[in-house]
């Protein structure tokens, strides 16, 4: 799904210099100008708080089974058990509590996948861009191959090889999201490498590692940050899709996609077990995408101007 979610495709977004100290104030100013972005940030903050405080705010433990309350509808929709605000699932677990704990998994998945894909992608991209030659050719061909297959299909096959489960799903998704970071980093490095300040630093006698990490990298962070936000929401969606296909987190993990897959047989009988996990996914992804849009606008002077 990665391909679909990047409105610029895999073409490197034309993004300007990253704001340093003075720029940071300006950056916040522009970010704050977008009401959507702020709203997204607030919702995201709330989600983080919910995830951290899950054991305190969830009414019940996520796996506690109330054998006398199977598939009870929410109290405001005809249910007779007011303690289960969003109803219960087929083995009598409180859906609200499961959703609250599920926030932990989704945010965890997003964070881990982005960190892995970002670190891996930057490293490979830096090497490709800086070393060049046949190393670059091989790396870029490899990335082409990964991009030539639909990401979800690739992730599905990878996770089948690694075995179904949350960790393996995260690894698989990180692998399929990686090529975007590699391409962006490489493109940025190649542009930056020719610039005067790099040449100057090299003449002073800086080693290649220092050159790559301290001189060049900070100057190509902007597109990477935007891509990272996009990847965060893609990771959540892809993990949920894998869970939905039965290859992601395994029950009884209250991961939203897995909950949805488990609930699928009840679409005619118990709408609440189907509706709420999907809604939770949508809200989370929406919040992150709002932040992503805000970031891009704030980091991209060209869009800002227009």
């Amino acid at each position: 799904m990665a391909d679909g979610h990047d409105p610029n495709g895999s073409v490197a977004p034309a993004v300007g210099e990253v704001p340093r100290r003075a720029g940071l104030v300006e950056f916040w100013f522009y970010f704050g100008e977008s009401r959507g972005a702020v709203a997204g940030l607030v919702v995201f903050g709330l989600l983080v708080a919910i995830a951290i405080l899950a054991p305190l705010i969830a009414p019940f433990p996520p796996s506690e089974q109330f054998r006398d309350a199977l598939l009870v509808p929410p109290p405001w929709a005809g249910g007779d058990r007011p303690e289960f605000f969003l109803g219960t699932d087929p083995v009598g677990r409180d859906i609200l509590s499961r959703l609250i704990f599920g926030a932990r998994f989704s945010l965890f998945i997003g964070t881990v996948v982005v960190v892995v894909a970002l670190v891996g992608g930057i490293t490979i991209g830096l090497i490709a861009g800086y070393v060049g030659g046949w190393v670059e050719a091989i790396i870029m061909r490899l990335m082409d191959i990964l991009l030539a297959l639909p990401s979800l299909l690739l992730a599905l096959v990878l996770v089948t090889i690694l075995g179904p489960g949350l960790e393996n799903a995260m690894i698989a998704i990180a692998i399929v999201l990686q090529p975007h970071f590699v391409r962006l980093t490489r493109a940025a490095v190649i542009t930056e490498r020719r610039k005067d300040y790099v040449t100057a630093t090299r003449l002073i006698g800086a080693g290649p590692l220092r050159l790559m990490l301290i001189t060049i990298l900070p100057n190509c962070m902007a597109p990477l940050i935007v891509q990272a936000t996009l990847s965060f929401s893609n990771a959540i969606l892809d993990a949920a899709a894998l869970g939905f296909l039965g290859m992601g987190a395994q029950p009884p993990t209250p991961e939203w996609g897995t909950m949805l897959a488990e609930a699928r047989e009840f679409i005619l009988r118990a709408w609440w077990v189907v509706t709420f996990p999907g809604l939770a996914i949508l809200i989370t992804v929406l919040a992150i995408n709002l932040i992503g849009d805000g970031l891009r606008d704030a980091l991209d002077p060209k869009l800002r101007r227009s």
Partner: protein
């Protein structure tokens, strides 16, 4: 032009070989085996199992297996399914039109709604309309489509009863697949009501699959339009007093289309990924569902052949986009 295409094709060859290696390697790494799956709870004797593995050639050295696989590919032989024993290529060609039809319909919805919506939002920048369009687009673009599909089924098929639940056409109609496109075949068949039936079956899955491309296209069109509207020549055109419709419709839109076309092309990969989920939900007999089923059945030759065929398809679409891009953007052609 021809040189451009040939050059691009040359670049594709190593990628293609890479894909075959990866597809081949993946399959050898998959745990479980299809023969075991075929016997289900019933236990197959180890001798018979070994015999079948031998018949299928899975006991040969990997390099020999790869060699014979590659040799087969060159002659158009993608192997046969372990389960159905039918040739992989035959099944791909039978099922691909279904996916293609669904994807084209999804893209049609995405383009016909997405581009006007994006243009409108750009022209009325900052208005309530703009905000509404962009909000809806953002929601569409954040949508877990498997959930979206379920909701639409519950509402339109279950609650309202407007659309059929699954399949490509009512089973009352039966005619030979001439083109494989149900819409065309239903017209060719001359049977009354067949075309309407095919359309009603196509509409929900196409909406579900088209949702994300629609959102992406609307957003891309808006930002491309905004950029173009700020350019000097548009301002000049406006200043000259040309009618706004002409300025927007002809001058601005034409130039804004360049990145939009690229975006549309880049959706090809997404459409195939989305088809995996959409086809699963709507029991649509296409290659997405076929691949998922094969992964679950560990049908090695199908997964292997399917991956390669899908990669070829996507590479061809990308090539086409490159060529189109060159056509509408003369700067690329010269450069």
């Amino acid at each position: 032009m021809v040189r451009l295409i040939l050059a691009r094709l040359a670049v594709l060859i190593p990628t293609f070989v890479g894909v075959t290696i990866i597809a081949f390697a993946f399959i050898r790494l998959l745990p479980g085996d299809p023969i075991q799956l075929l016997s289900g709870e019933r236990v197959m004797s180890p001798e018979r199992h070994a015999e079948v593995m031998h018949d299928l050639g899975y006991d040969r050295p990997l390099i020999v297996q790869y060699g014979s696989y590659l040799g087969g590919l060159v002659t158009g032989d993608f192997g046969s399914s372990v389960v159905t024993k039918r040739p992989v290529l035959q099944d791909f060609l039978t099922l691909f039109p279904a996916t293609l039809e669904l994807s084209l319909a999804a893209m049609l919805i995405a383009v016909t709604i997405g581009i006007p919506a994006g243009v409108l939002a750009a022209v009325k920048r900052g208005s309530i309309l703009d905000q509404a369009v962009m909000s809806v687009a953002l929601i569409g673009y954040s949508m877990p489509i498997f959930w979206w599909g379920l909701l639409l089924i519950i509402f339109f098929s279950g609650y309202l009863g407007w659309t059929p639940v699954s399949g490509r056409i009512s089973l009352v109609y039966f005619f030979p697949p001439v083109t494989g496109f149900m819409l065309i075949d239903s017209l060719l068949s001359g049977e009354k009501g067949a075309f309407a039936s095919a359309v009603s079956h196509l509409i929900l899955p196409a909406i579900v699959l088209g949702t994300i491309p629609l959102a992406v296209i609307a957003r891309q069109t808006r930002s491309a339009m905004l950029e173009v509207l700020g350019e000097d020549y548009v301002r000049t055109a406006r200043a000259k007093g040309l009618p706004p419709l002409l300025v927007v419709g002809v001058h601005a839109l034409r130039n804004a289309m360049v990145p939009v076309v690229t975006t549309i092309g880049l959706q090809a990969g997404y459409l195939l990924a989305g088809a995996i989920l959409t086809e699963t939900i709507f029991s649509w007999p296409g290659i997405g569902k076929w691949m998922v089923d094969s992964v679950f059945k560990r049908d090695y030759p199908v997964i292997q052949g399917g991956l390669v065929l899908i990669a070829i398809t996507i590479m061809m679409v990308n090539l086409l986009v490159d060529v189109l891009y060159g056509l509408i953007n003369p700067r690329i052609r010269h450069g």
